[in-house]
Amino acid sequence: MSTATADLHQAPAEPAVNYLNASYGIKSWLLTLDHKRIGLLYLASITVMFVVGGVAATLMRLHLVEPQGALFEPETYNKMFSTHGIIMVFFFLVPSIPATLGNFLIPLMIGARDVAFPKLNLMSWYIFMTGSALALYGTISGGVDTGWTFYPPYSSLYSETHVVAVALGIFIAGFSSILTGLNFIVTIHKMRAPGMTWFRLPLFIWALYATSLIFVLGTPVIAITVFLLGLERLLHVGIFDPAVGGDPLLFQHMFWFYSHPAVYIMILPGMGVISELITAFSRKKIFGYSFVAFSSLSIAVISFIVWGHHMFVTGQAIYAGLVFSVLSFLVAIPSAVKVFNWTATLYRGSISYEAPMLYALGFIGLFTIGGLTGLFLASLATDVHLNGTYFIVAHFHYIMVGGAVMAYLGGIHFWWPKISGRMYPDMWARISAAIIFLGFNLTFFPQFMLGYLGMPRRYAIYPAEFQVLNVLSSAGASILGIGYVIPLIYLTWSMRYGPVAGPNPWKAKGLEWTIPSPPPTENFEKIPIVTEPAYNYPAIEAHDYPDAPGVARV
């Protein structure tokens, strides 16, 4: 197979046999052990879940254009926001980048033929599907109205909705995460190609490694937490019921012990993607490789000791508040380090603005805002005022949507030619990226203001003085929704009608770009021997050629 870069005068040829057509039929997909096919199976599942969660969000924002609520009774609205949160957190964001791009790319990037445990990988997908099916069943048969946080005693004693079904769905899907994380850790430790030392790994791998640590150590705790909640509901035993000696705050501690690290599960892979995009589209090695690598690990470690910042107003001891506050400030530092390093990577680069780069730049801007607003919440005195309001909603959406979803889309667009062998129309991709960026800001910036003004979250109806900002937010949401639909269309179109991409349409560095697009099932004809550092883009030493053309002057 030729791996020469495509000559501009000769269209690249698609390899005759690749992982997509190596075998046919539904059984070859449903029983596949190929990590690339499993990545696509996940891609299909989580896209469906994203649409379900997105429809819930659209309905919510439409309802909120009027202070008395435009569409639903409060009971239904409560089910809408609960469904939106549960589906988006557990069934979209947590698996998104790891299960799709991670599964597809990790063996390619480290020079392996597959992950360490391919059968476990397939089983993870089936476990995910089972959990999703249960959660969807719970949603369709009436939904839950507890919020994605399931706080007792409401969720254990008072709610009359399908809590057990949905909690069971989350419990089962958790095992999918655990097994994926386990697979990734072993793969990265044991299956790197000769010469691929830890510090030659792409930063995407470091990010997924850190994410996997959280997967394996955090997810079991949420499993036990929803397990206890489910048992309380099923057996009518008051584990969290104060009337019989239980403690509802114990639930919160256990819940947030996972759910705070979980938000880092949702953002770390995105940060890994950004490192890849920034380097590829400025054709430069990353600024501060080891700092970026270690920042991923520090975020994973510190993420486990900050959960109490979700509980500053629960009446916990002041001392506990102080400890969690200082640690929450600490966890912001590695993220700041990443933002500075990405920005510095652009310096003296050779930058182009295809869609993946637009997503990456959008990420950096929006993540900066989202992360800095986290300081308002780590800060005790302001958190007292802002907790439970729309400020929190805006903060986490800036990070989850402005950050994680944009990184996800950027990654999909970047690796789409490798996954499908085809290019998509870049013009449409750039237009969608711009629509998403604008729609997103219009949706969520007003929510910071709403929060500071005092509008609580999870309100089905609200005082009329908050209407203007709510209408602005809903207008933004409709624009954002359109922005998400367009890529679905052109990416699907490109699979059949897009121009053939060739092995390396972006001229990027990385082992995945040295093999055909789409790759053969066994990935590499011969396992490569790695001798270069990561992101080994050609660069001129300034002092050697001070007057050479093309040398950027400061």
Partner: protein
């Protein structure tokens, strides 16, 4: 391409060498055990919190349990870990498959004995005496809410542990079949080792459960 004839049965082709596969399998099992520690750990944490809040009730609840069965079961499990280790040792030293199977079957018998004692002499008795919250619970008298909380945790924790034992028995069955089919040798016995790790872990969880559940508040003659 690698020479297949030198690869033992059970070699998986995503790996380059047998050594790589063995190391991957071991690392994978250790990571899995770490997740299990966190899993049980969540339950243990909730237990510790409630024990601190309701110590007198937990003492009363603990006195409802029969130490002799708990102690017997502890001995049974420790012996089963011994027989498991002997099975692995036999494979390691190239012993006959018959010997390996005997040790594995003994391990299974001890595991089944553990479950049998639990079911017949502890849980069935608790059912009859009305001590199973949510299933058969006779309250009133000395059964304060704290005692009910203790019994909840007793059943959740030992139940979760028993579930892990059942899974372990399933794994051992598979191992017996694999041994009978000559899959193991002195060069390749990784599944036995890895399953042994799992079995020992389940044993260690019980060693924590026993004092925490059965021995609260001490047992004094006449109490």
């Amino acid at each position: 391409m690698a020479v297949h004839s030198t690869h033992p049965p059970g070699f998986a082709h995503q790996f380059e060498t047998v050594e790589q596969q063995r190391e991957a399998g071991h690392l994978g099992m250790w990571i899995f055990l770490a997740t299990e520690i966190l899993f049980f750990g969540g339950m243990f944490t909730a237990y510790v919190v409630y024990r601190a809040l309701h110590l007198p009730s937990f003492i009363l609840g603990s006195h409802e349990l029969l130490v002799k069965f708990g102690a017997t079961n502890t001995a049974v499990l420790i012996c089963s870990s011994l027989t498991m280790a002997l099975a692995i040792r036999t494979a390691q030293t190239g012993g006959s498959k018959g010997t390996i199977i005997v040790w594995l079957l003994l391990t299974m018998a001890l595991g089944a004995a553990f479950l049998g004692i639990k079911l017949r002499y502890e849980w069935y008795r608790d059912y009859v005496e009305g001590l199973i919250p949510g299933v058969s619970w006779l309250s009133g008298g000395t059964h304060t809410p704290g005692v009910k909380m203790f019994m909840c945790f007793y059943f959740f924790m030992t139940g979760l542990h028993a579930l892990h034992m059942v899974v372990g028995l399933g794994i051992l069955t598979v191992l017996v079949v694999m041994t009978a089919r000559n899959r193991f040798s002195a060069e390749y016995y990784a599944p036995l080792e890895i399953s042994g790790l799992y079995w020992h872990f389940v044993d260690i969880v019980w060693i924590f459960l026993f004092p925490l559940l059965y021995l609260i508040g001490g047992r004094y003659p006449g109490s």
